[in-house]
């Protein structure tokens, strides 16, 4: 009994996928491929199943948005503040902070520190090599506690004071 049920489910999924392929093929304006239905009994009643809508597509111009991982960060006065190595989001999905690999020489002595997302300015980022501005100075971030996965995250805000990350309700 249960075995038969699972077989039916597989057939239904196949039908849905089949239908979705058809929709996408229509959208792309391609000629209909050989329709030869594989499972005619299941395909006969597709209206009872919700069809998967095609994904929505947003196009952003190459100068409007950029990836941040590995991007250089500089203070407003041009001091090198390191590179963004990770981004921290809260459970609501809002971006809270960026992890910056700060200081050191040839990778020796660098520290991973966390800065408030609102202290970062992205206005100058137009190409792959443009840096992000941070409204903090080297002196303000140098003594920040090192970022560690699993430990409480201490986020540096633009005012220069240390404050714990508030995860909200």
């Amino acid at each position: 009994m249960s075995r038969k049920g699972s077989t039916n489910a597989v057939l239904l999924v196949a039908a849905v996928v089949f239908a979705a392929t058809h929709v996408m093929a229509d959208d792309a304006g391609q000629p209909q491929a050989d329709p030869a239905p594989v499972n005619p009994p299941a395909a006969a009643k597709p209206s009872t199943e919700p069809t998967t809508p095609p994904p929505s597509i947003t196009v952003i111009g190459p100068a409007d948005a950029h990836s941040v991982l590995g991007r250089e960060v500089r203070s407003t006065s041009g001091q090198n503040m390191g590179r963004i190595v990770d981004v921290i989001v809260d459970r609501a999905g809002a971006v809270r902070a960026a992890v910056i690999d700060f200081g050191g020489f040839l990778g020796v002595g660098s520290r991973k520190i966390v800065v408030d997302w609102n202290a970062l300015r992205f206005g100058k980022v137009k190409g792959a090599s443009d840096s992000i501005s941070l409204e903090l100075t080297q002196d303000q971030v140098k003594a920040a506690p090192e970022y560690k996965e699993g430990a409480p995250v201490v986020v540096l805000g633009a005012s220069g004071t240390l404050q714990p990350l508030n995860l909200g309700p």
Binding site: G103, G104, F105, L106, G107, V108, G109, Q138
Partner: protein, 407 residues
């Protein structure tokens, strides 16, 4: 008695070896800290970078003894060295050209495996060229050129990385690999006695006891020395990174320059004093030098725990140079003392290399944990205590291994 052990290699071969070591240090520097920086700029996540570094570390650890065994089995040390350098050159190009996971992982494995061969092969070529009587002086010269190479490479690659990109660093590494091969070609292959390079002696009748691998691995000086090297690395490896992190924390503006000085000062000391370390090892014996190295390391740990002025820390790094110079010469020298006659000189180097690797990886883990839970001072004191126990091991267990002077 002018036997086969008193060899007089040509000046061309000696200089070829100098430059081989110099350029090889340049090639290897590019693979050190730059890998993490470069992969970060290529949008790699920290966990992927950590995985690549771990893969390289593990291969570099388990490959030590097989690497030594390959050199012991080879008939031409030069050919083995050339193949290993070529492998590293190709790995450097692969890093620069395709920073995608499978390529970088393969390149990291190849680089680590080739490095397992290249470490011992320098000492093997040296021993094959000059023989066991002159090896101390030759090893001092080796250490000088290695640290000059490291210093020059750190400068050149720092500038290249700053002005061009961290990808360009790997192209420069490839160029240095070509220069390394050219220098290697200057060493005349027929002047390297392969038997001598393996630590074998010509015997009229075979002596299975003296040439047994098991006997070599149970030889007491080798076991004690492996423990000594383990303690050295355990006490030493985490010290500079830990200290550099503190410098970053305490002084922001000049921190990168201070850290650069903390790296360069010991290299300069090694370049200056290594040749005299090689000569003193022959005059004083090995044990006093080992004790000086451990004492310097223990004092350095204690000073890092108590000194807080960042610029004074640079001065303390002179002690790092002393420890590094002594061990840079002593590791291949004592292994040559112990393993000569066995024909397994390079396997024995692999044993010591394994102890080095285990000590170094444990050091960063343990020191990091100590520093997180009890503070930097405690961590440095712990490392200093490990150095003191190394001093005690040398004092109580380590025999003098210097070969008796021939009358």
């Amino acid at each position: 008695m002018a036997g086969p052990q008193d060899r007089h290699p040509s000046a061309q071969s000696q200089r070829g070896l100098d430059w081989f070591i110099f350029f090889l240090a340049d090639v290897q520097t590019g693979f050190g800290p730059f890998v993490a920086v470069y992969l970060t700029t290529q949008k790699w996540t920290q966990s992927e970078i950590g995985l690549i570094l771990s893969i390289g570390g593990i291969v570099g650890l388990i490959g030590q003894m097989p690497g030594g065994a390959i050199i012991d089995a080879a008939r031409s040390e030069r050919l083995v060295a050339g193949l290993a350098v070529a492998t590293i050159g190709v790995s450097a190009l692969a890093y620069a050209a395709w920073p995608i996971f499978p390529v970088v992982a393969l390149a990291a494995i190849l680089h680590a495996a080739a490095s397992c061969v290249l470490g011992p092969v320098i000492a093997a070529i040296s021993l094959g060229l000059v023989g066991p009587r002159a090896i101390g002086e030759r090893l001092g010269r080796n250490a000088r050129f290695a640290s000059l190479g490291n210093g020059v490479a750190a400068g050149v690659m720092g500038v290249v990385g700053y002005l061009l990109s961290s990808r360009a660093v790997f192209v420069v590494s490839f160029a240095f690999a070509v220069a390394t091969l050219l220098a290697l070609a200057r060493i005349r292959d027929r002047e390297i006695d392969p038997e001598q390079a393996h630590g074998a002696v010509a015997r009229t009748e075979p002596d299975p006891d003296a040439t047994s691998v098991l006997h070599l691995l149970h030889r007491r000086p080798l076991v004690v020395f492996a423990c000594t090297v383990f303690l050295l690395q355990f006490a030493n490896a985490a010290m500079l990174p830990l200290m550099a992190g503190i410098v970053t924390e305490r002084s922001s503006e000049g921190a990168p320059a201070l850290i650069a000085l903390c790296i360069i000062v010991p290299q300069a000391i090694v370049a200056l004093i290594s040749p005299s370390v090689g000569r003193k090892a022959q005059a004083w014996g090995r044990r006093p030098l080992l004790m000086i190295a451990f004492a310097a390391l223990a004092v350095r740990g204690a000073l890092f725990a108590t000194v807080h002025d960042p610029s004074l820390l640079v001065a303390v790094q002179v002690l790092d140079g002393i420890t590094a110079a002594v061990f840079g010469v002593m590791i291949p020298l004592i292994v040559a003392d112990v393993a000569f006659g066995s024909g397994h000189f390079n396997l024995a180097q692999g044993v010591i290399g394994t102890a080095t690797g285990i000590g170094a990886s444990l050091s960063t883990v343990v020191a990091g944990t100590m520093s997180d839970h009890f503070g930097h001072g405690f961590a440095f004191m712990g490392l200093a205590a490990a150095a003191l126990s190394g001093l005690l091991v040398v004092l109580t267990f380590m025999p003098e291994t210097r070969l008796a002077e021939e009358p």
